[in-house]
Symmetry: C2
Subunit: 248 residues, 2 copies
């Protein structure tokens, strides 16, 4: 099962959610997380410092190496396909290819039996990298920060997703929308949660992940949240997503 | 004077900072803000609903209209060059042009005498849209959220900026780095501020903008922060940036 974690809005907890889900899934099966963002935050968020010669997702997409050779272990039983800033060059390189949206899908084919779960952390844009993730995946999780700008983007994102489903990847299913950094005692969060439920008929809106300084602290520590601060209320929304993944 | 507000990290307050600065500058001179992000958050953040037929920055970049014709007034004496999701198509369209990084610079030439200040809100990526902003601008402001992932990206961003300065736009000056959403009583914020000052020799690090729910509330209200909540401690860091702009 391949799940893309995507939203073109920046800073909505795509990477943080990939870390949290990957950390939990690694304890119940084999899990690979893929960093598809030139910022490489998933790679840093797992505390991984890459050797100069280490192949990354860029070399996989440009066929210089196989996915298997680019995978690195992490201290959390979680496998990582890392990224560096070089990945930014992939957009231009891939644009000229005829089947440019299916390159990642092809490269992951040999790994399908190796891992129970594969998660893809997407960059904050709707470019060719995210399109590759949406074409390789059979499930999509959309983190949405409980704020106005993030909310505005969801409708547009759903249109793009339905287009991709219609034209490129009919198997893609929307797992749901995960509200993040929720401060349920503020008006803003309440407004956003209400609007999300209205706007998205037929789409699962998960229980919101509360805002907590433990999340940025876990990034600094280079650990998935449940390995840094195993508090029920922070982890539970992520467990709910995993139940939904299993039910698919 | 044209100032780009850029950082490829998502959610660091690029749009919020453009709104805050634009709102203040509009009270002392003529100011144009340009939405260069397909999410159109600057356009929504000013409470602007566009008519179907309204030309946007996309039509300007693709030479279907002039910048002057695409400018809309706002209730805050601030002029806006708006964006919609169509702008996402500009990346692919512009990539094939020979002078692809200088298109925006050319389109803004006729406006240089019309406005005292022009601010450009950039998308969270280092693609051709941000490159256009960095080639059109003579000053660059880098908002950085006081968190680990945002910090990690600054070094890489500075390298890219120096490359652009060296090869494409020698006039580009870094105004400084603006720490945002600072919670000065937390360890994370203190660590980030300390590291920024060390890492960036010779670059101005402005006083941090405190984290405050008034910012997202002002987005919901469609107003620049000083029109929504004129609190000294929220506005002062932005006034400091304006002093630096004037001193250039
Ligand atoms: N529930 C939460 N509570 C508080 N802070 C959070 C929470 N989730 C994420 N964060 C913090 O918010 C910031 C943005 O999160 P993150 O970088 O994961 O978002 P992103 O969508 O991956 O960003 P980008 O668009 O740049 O890829 C990070 O510094 C992270 O630590
Ligand atoms: N000082 C602050 N305190 C609290 N919240 C803030 C502050 N500044 C910005 N925000 C909020 O943080 C969120 C992210 O800010 P904003 O959208 O301006 O970032 P951005 O860098 O433009 O994002 P993107 O990368 O998607 O363009 C917004 O919901 C905004 O209201
Ligand atoms: Mg991320
Ligand atoms: Mg923005």
């Amino acid at each position: 099962m391949i799940t893309a974690i995507a939203n073109q809005k920046g800073g909505v907890a795509k990477t943080t959610s990939t870390l949290a889900l990957g950390g939990l899934l690694a304890e119940e099966g084999s899990c690979l997380v893929i960093d598809l963002d030139p910022q490489g935050n998933l790679t840093t968020g797992l505390g991984i410092e890459l050797a100069e010669s280490q192949p990354t997702i860029y070399e996989v997409l440009t066929s210089e190496t196989t996915a298997k050779e680019a995978i690195v272990p992490t201290p959390f039983d979680l496998s990582l396909l890392p990224a560096t800033a070089t990945l930014a060059q992939a957009e231009n390189k891939l644009l000229t290819q005829p089947d440019r949206c299916f390159i990642l899908k092809e490269k992951l084919k040999p790994l399908r039996r190796t891992f129970d779960y594969i998660l893809i952390d997407c960059p904050p844009s709707m470019g060719v990298l995210t399109a590759n993730a949406l074409c390789a995946a059979n499930a999509l999780l959309i983190p949405v920060q409980c704020q106005v700008f993030a909310l505005k983007g969801v409708e547009g994102l759903m249109k793009t997703v339905n287009q991709i489903k219609g034209e490129l990847n009919p198997k893609l299913k929307v797992l749901g929308v995960l509200p993040t950094m929720a401060e349920t005692n503020t008006l803003i969060t309440q407004e956003v949660l209400k609007t999300l439920k209205h706007q998205l008929e037929g789409v699962t809106v998960f229980e919101p992940v509360p805002k907590s300084v433990k999340f940025p602290e876990s990034n600094l520590a280079g650990k998935p949240i449940h390995r840094y601060a195993n508090e029920w209320k922070l982890i539970q929304p992520y467990r709910q997503v995993i139940w939904e993944m299993r039910a698919m």
